[in-house]
């Protein structure tokens, strides 16, 4: 039942995504300045925003784990962080492609790009350190602490194009300040929805795997402790 709901959610997300891709490629004209490539924004930005949402959930569940010591919070945390880190990778890759097209280089070291890359690396190191801790309570506790510490980078990325006087090549904010043409609002919203649905399906899937893995582990331990 739970599994079916998960797949349904994923399928729904894929549908929205496909129909939105259709809208974007067929329904929208090329951008006056950037031409065809601007369409990447409908993946590039939602990928990061959805990822940040999952990181925020992970922050909350990390705090909850420390307070309540319930392993379900740890499972949610790790599921969210895995999926969000993947979405950050999507943001980095699409941004990189966009950058290659617009700036002529794949990468440049400014505050926005660097902090975003650091977000990726930070949460990667969360995923790297986790398996090295054997005892599950300890693993969950230390992971929660790392997730809390790591979250500090999320607002930093956000501020990196919003503070005055930072050296960055990245476009300044266009969302929520009317700088984006109104026709783009709908496909942008659909892009958000699609990634949100797909992301949630993946999180639920990982959550399911994580809990059943813990059950298997404990059965095996009982067997071996006999």
């Amino acid at each position: 039942m739970r599994e079916k709901a998960t797949y349904l959610l994923g399928a729904l997300g894929a549908l929205v995504m496909i129909s939105n891709l259709h809208t974007i490629f067929v329904g929208l004209p090329d951008d006056a300045l950037q031409g065809m490539i601007f369409r990447i924004i409908f993946i590039h930005v939602p990928a990061d925003l959805v990822a940040d949402l999952f990181f925020t959930i992970a922050l909350v569940t990390s705090v909850l784990f420390l307070a309540r010591k319930n392993f379900i919070y740890d499972s949610i945390t790790v599921a969210c962080i895995e999926v969000a880190t993947m979405l950050i990778l999507v943001n980095l890759v699409t941004g990189s492609i966009w950058g290659r097209n617009q700036w002529g280089v794949w990468w440049t070291w400014d505050l926005r790009l660097t902090t975003q890359l650091m977000k990726f690396v930070l949460y990667m190191s969360y995923l790297v350190v986790r398996p090295a801790i054997a005892e599950p309570t300890q693993k969950a506790t230390m992971s929660a602490i790392i997730a809390i510490f790591a979250y500090a980078d999320v607002p930093l990325v956000w501020m990196a194009i919003r503070l005055p006087n930072v050296r960055t090549n990245h476009p300044s904010p266009v969302l929520g300040n009317g700088k984006m043409a109104a026709v783009y609002n709908a496909p942008f919203g659909m892009g958000m929805l699609a990634l949100l649905l797909i992301g949630s399906a993946l999180v639920l899937l990982r959550l399911h795997q994580e809990t059943s893995q813990r059950e298997i582990d404990s059965l095996r331990r009982e067997l071996h402790a006999a």
Partner: protein
């Protein structure tokens, strides 16, 4: 009066319950030998009493100050015996750490080498220093995890006499051990753990002294 009480204490390591609702009550002034097979949960319970680990469920009450001596001796190799003891005195909030350190060294007979580095001590001397450290603040409750392991007959005798003195001074002792014979020379009570449960508690009796396996045979799981 109870010195230590555990009420339905559970401790999970992941999904594995090392303690499954253990109950234990230790009278003030008694010496409790905590027995049980490998993996029964002795160390886990002692660490919870010492505040080194939080129980997952259940309640633990400790009436008084605690001294802990685990597998490691818990002193710094690069400090002298005296420096080690004054440091722990400060941590414990002892009023006059230097004086307490001197007295503790006197008690275990290390006054002569008080300025020697711990790393240069022989096994027996290190053990004495560890005991001095655990006894420094004259704790009400002493928690010892397998204190006799790897000690020779002489070192065991020294440790036993130190523990006897502490008992005589009114301390409560809880010690886990597999060396039942050595433990029984001190123990007033025994508790037996099995798979995370306390399956027997009671005063020491002559059978236990004569035949260490008696306890396991009588209260242990049928194999």
């Amino acid at each position: 009066m109870l010195a230590v009480a555990a009420e339905r204490v559970w401790k999970y390591f992941g999904d594995y319950p090392a303690l499954r609702g253990a109950n234990l009550e230790v009278e003030a002034g008694s010496c409790m030998a905590l027995l049980g097979r490998n993996g029964a949960g002795k160390t886990t319970l002692l660490r919870i009493f010492a505040g080194l680990s939080n129980p997952t469920k259940g309640e633990v009450r400790i009436a008084g100050t605690v001294g802990y001596l685990g597998h490691g001796i818990g002193v710094y190799d690069d400090l002298s015996a005296f420096e080690n003891l004054t440091l722990f005195g400060q941590l414990q909030g002892v009023a006059d750490p230097a004086k307490a350190a001197d007295e503790a060294l006197e008690r275990v007979g290390l006054t002569r080498v008080k300025d020697g580095m711990a790393r240069e001590f022989s096994r027996g001397m290190r053990q004495r220093l560890a005991v001095a450290r655990a006894f420094l603040h004259l704790p009400d409750i002493l928690l010892l995890d397998e204190p006799f392991t790897s000690l020779d007959d002489k070192a065991i005798a020294v440790l036993q006499s130190l523990l006897e003195a502490a008992l005589a001074g009114g301390s409560t002792i809880i010690m886990s051990t597999h060396q039942i014979r050595e433990a029984m020379e001190l123990a007033t009570h025994v508790a037996m753990l099995e798979r995370g449960l306390v399956v027997h508690t009671g005063p020491q009796n002559p059978e236990m002294l004569a035949d260490p396996a008696w306890l396991y045979r009588t209260y242990g799981e049928k194999q």
